[in-house]
């Protein structure tokens, strides 16, 4: 099993969700986060007081999928989230040791 964690532009969330649903991935956790990579922030001015804002709003998606499907998910997610500009975000992939469904104690891929 692989855990796929992606940080993407908030306005791309709907497109990514739809694309993943089309290939049969509908379990995921989404968090509103702030961060930055190489993308520069912006300047805000409040009554003459300047602030450099470099943590920008992003959305983080987390999902665990069978290892055999991981490449397909990465490609679908990446294609849907891509604008080609700086700030599109990143995808990280982790090995998952175990998955347990709390309701009936299913384990492994059946728990996904």
């Amino acid at each position: 099993m692989k855990k796929i964690e992606a940080v993407i532009q908030p306005h791309k969330l709907e497109e990514v969700k739809e694309a993943l649903k089309r290939i049969g991935i509908d379990g995921m956790t989404i968090t509103e986060v702030r961060g930055h990579g190489r993308q520069k922030g912006h300047k805000e001015v409040y009554r003459g007081m300047e602030y450099q804002v470099d943590l920008l709003p992003k959305v983080k998606l987390e999902m665990v999928v069978p290892s055999s499907r991981s490449e397909e998910v990465i490609k679908t997610l990446g294609d849907a989230a891509r604008t080609g500009k700086i700030g599109d975000g990143k995808i990280f992939v982790f090995d998952v040791a175990e998955a347990i469904r709390i309701r009936n104690e299913d384990r492994g891929e059946t728990a996904l």
């Binding site: 805000e44 001015v45 409040y46 009554r47 003459g48 007081m49 602030y51 804002v53």
Partner: protein, 458 residues
């Protein structure tokens, strides 16, 4: 002529004389009744407007100012900042009921009123002809109360995010007693030193509270900011407003409430109220544009915060002038207020480096002083013939009025500086005035009130 016709004629004359004599008392009675009815109708109209105005002025404090200031602070201090406005709706009301109204409007000496109306003694249905002859004194009392509530609430912009709640409570109680009541008496009370309509020795024009409300609160705010010192992390930590949405809603409520504040100060549903309403609205509009314009030129972008700050600055500046000036001077006063206050908060404040967190001094102290002086320039007898046919302002040929306005402003500045400093010292030595460092870092909502504005898991 027959005997019969003679009898008939005499009967006719007698009848006519009765008819002629009868209408006289009847007409007088009906006239008196008609006069009474006209008075009652005027009283009903005036009273309706004044009760609405009183409610509008209360709306300026809560939710108006609470939202305006609440949005400008960081999220950890939103409730404490709203509390600084809200609690005064309760505290000042009790003070006012016990002694406040009497100390401000009782007939005393030049500086403070008497205790004749203490505990609401003699304040009821009968009008007080010295102040407002067509409405119950109770209406006048409750209308003026709303001004006493908002004035100390305005100061809270300077000590936001770092004051101790007990210190804040003691400070505002003492401040209302020792600064606001005397200043209100001097300008508006019978026999007050600066009262232009009721025998003041230095007649100053202040229609709705430029000196009483805005100079006293704004200058006291500066003293508070200097005494308390900067917020921890000022200049290094980000202190962006946490919700300009709140602030925008709050500022628009202030704008609407200000019609009660200024047009209501005519104390009647009169054409003077209409004139003050128009002047108020025009000044707010002009100032919103001029602040935005100045900002647009200086930083390259017109901001929502700039627009609402400008509108408030214009409303402050027109307050003393609203019942004395024509619409075009009102536009001009607003235009000047927007630019002057913008330069004050974005350039001058940073030069001096004091932390007037929400710019109570830059907007109310400076805007109030500018408005007080310009009132002496633009006041005209065509709008308000207070001096019985004599010239009112500088442009009508009464140059001395500008001097009186400056003296009145100087008295308000002096009282605010000395009074506030002494009161802060007393609070500091008794209950303490500044929050502990840990309390400030945690946020006043949690450390002072044990609650949070935004509960994630709720």
């Amino acid at each position: 002529m027959t005997k019969l016709s003679l009898i008939f004629l005499s009967l006719l004359t007698w009848g006519c004389s009765i008819l002629a004599a009868q209408p006289a008392p009847d007409l007088e009675k009906r006239l008196a009744e008609a006069e009474k009815a006209v008075k009652a109708a005027q009283s009903a109209g005036d009273n309706a407007w004044m009760l609405v105005s009183a409610a509008l002025v209360l709306m300026m404090t809560g939710p108006g100012l609470a939202l305006f200031y609440g949005g400008l602070v960081r999220r950890k201090n939103v409730l404490s900042t709203m509390m600084h406005s809200f609690i005064l709706m309760a505290v000042v009301t009790v003070l006012w009921a016990l002694v406040g109204y009497s100390l401000a409007f009782g007939e005393g000496n030049s500086f403070i009123g008497s205790l004749q109306y203490a505990f609401m003694n003699g304040v009821g249905d009968a009008p007080n002809p010295d102040y407002a002859g067509t409405i119950p004194q109770g209406t006048f009392m409750v209308y003026q109360l709303m001004f006493a509530i908002i004035t100390p609430a305005l100061i809270s912009g300077a000590f936001a995010e770092r004051i101790k709640f007990t210190g804040m409570l003691l400070f505002t109680i003492l401040w209302t007693l020792l600064v606001y009541f005397p200043m209100a008496h001097m300008v508006w009370g019978k026999g007050g030193l600066l009262n232009a309509s009721l025998g003041g020795r230095i007649p100053a024009l202040d229609f709705a509270g430029g000196t009483v409300v805005h100079i006293t609160s704004g200058v006291s705010a500066l003293v508070c900011a200097l005494y308390l010192g900067k917020r921890k992390g000022y200049g290094s930590d980000p202190m962006r407003p946490h919700s300009l949405v709140f602030s925008t809603v709050g500022a628009c409520l202030l704008w609407v409430g200000w019609f009660g504040f200024n047009a209501g100060s005519a104390l009647a549903a009169s054409s003077l109220a209409t004139s003050a309403f128009i002047a108020t609205h025009f000044a707010a509009a002009a100032a919103a544009l001029s602040w935005l314009g100045a900002e647009w030129i200086r930083t390259g972008k017109p901001s929502m915060l700039g627009g609402i700050s400008g509108a408030v600055a214009g409303l402050v500046a027109i307050t003393p002038a609203s019942g004395f000036v024509k619409p075009m001077p009102a536009l001009l006063i607003g235009l000047l207020a927007g630019v002057v206050c913008y330069m004050m908060v974005s350039v001058v404040k940073n030069l001096f480096g004091y932390d007037d967190a929400l710019d109570a001094f830059g907007v109310h102290g400076i805007g109030g002083t500018l408005g007080a002086i310009l009132t002496g320039v633009f006041a005209t007898k065509e709008i308000n013939d207070l001096f019985k046919g004599k010239a009112m302002g500088l442009l009508e040929g009464n140059g001395g009025q500008v001097m009186n306005q400056i003296i009145a402003s100087a008295i308000a500045w002096g009282l605010a500086i000395v009074g506030t400093w002494i009161i802060l010292k007393v609070c500091d030595m008794t209950v303490g005035i500044r929050a502990e460092e840990g309390e400030e870092v945690e946020g006043l909502d949690l450390s002072m009130h044990g609650e949070e504005g935004y509960n994630f898991e709720a």
